[in-house]
């Protein structure tokens, strides 16, 4: 039984990898279940046995990406010399994640007004995990005596994360553009680093 489950897990993992590549290179709408099955030399019936429809497959890939992203943060976030390096690592990792997976998120642009609840749940879980990791980074610095005590680290990180999410590009800053355009990602990243620089100075001053 265990071996059978392992086999299933391996197959499931292979489906997620192949789907991720498809979604990444062709986008959600231009990817078919047929093509994914073809990439894996797998029958369409078997693919549907694992994932009943394309949106559930997409959500499973997103969950995997979110887990990998959080692992990257977890593995490093407590090994920094100071708070600025820790937070910069978060901002850089997030930036790289979005740049590398940009086309994958076409689903967000296509369904902006009506994202499935499961997507919001993953986004919420990532947000909570980041909140936990970053407030721990603050607590560690306070314990080390590297910065003065922070009354409510979670509140501070929550505000900082909202603030970072608020960063937009120039003329479009007021208009609703929920998912930034690819050509704006670098400028947004630069602005986030400036915000971070001032914010961390204020926190550690």
């Amino acid at each position: 039984m265990a071996a059978a489950n392992d086999q299933q897990d391996i197959k499931r993992e292979k489906i997620l990898e192949a789907s991720h590549q498809r979604f990444l290179h062709y986008g959600y709408s231009k990817t078919t279940m047929n093509e994914i099955a073809g990439d894996l030399s797998m029958s369409k019936a078997l693919l549907y046995y694992y994932f009943p429809d394309k949106s559930q497959l997409y959500i499973a890939v997103m969950r995997k990406l979110a887990t990998d992203y959080l692992k990257t943060l977890e593995n490093r976030l407590n090994s920094f010399a100071n708070l600025k390096d820790a937070f910069t690592f978060q901002v850089n990792t997030h930036h790289e994640f979005i740049v590398n997976n940009y086309n994958f998120f076409d689903f967000f642009r296509l369904n902006e007004q009506n994202l499935p609840e499961a997507i919001w749940q993953i986004v919420g879980e990532v947000h909570s995990a980041e909140l936990g990791l970053l407030s721990n980074a603050i607590k560690t610095e306070v314990e080390k005596g590297a910065i003065k005590p922070v009354e409510n680290p979670e509140e501070v990180v929550d505000v900082l994360m909202d603030a970072l999410h608020g960063i937009r590009v120039g003329a479009i800053s007021q208009k609703k553009t929920n998912f930034p355009r690819k050509e704006h990602l670098e400028e947004i990243h630069t602005k986030k680093l400036l915000l971070l620089d001032i914010f961390i100075k204020g926190l550690t001053a």
Copy 2:
């Protein structure tokens, strides 16, 4: 001729005032041109002479509100003892403006996906004016020697304003809710003041 124009201006101003009250108390969709004409004991034809339709009247009221808002900022923004007081005044004035005109903005909630270009233009003008006023406040402090030189004040204020706009409330932080709910305004205001406090410390440290 001049007297005739003055008369027209006075009438136009009265229409804007009456409309503001209607939009504020009953909302955009529940206000009719008929009612506004009635409030002013004016013929509907004359009202339409001044404003060809309700949306153009709404935009004119919004332009008036924006002008008043900016005047409040302009009149005070160069008379503060320090940068924190100046920026706090902006955040507080903005908060009061939204609280006092909350129902007026039902138009934004109703037309979130399709706001007229004229609205975006006003929003953009307010944004530019705030950017100018607040970066001047930084320059003044630098000239007084109260804070160390800031390389690019406009860039810093732009980032801060984006960051302030990004402030949301708890669980909804990730979901798109472009116009905040009334019961969240106080919490958002508190979070903005926290962000401002840390940011200004970072800027003046």
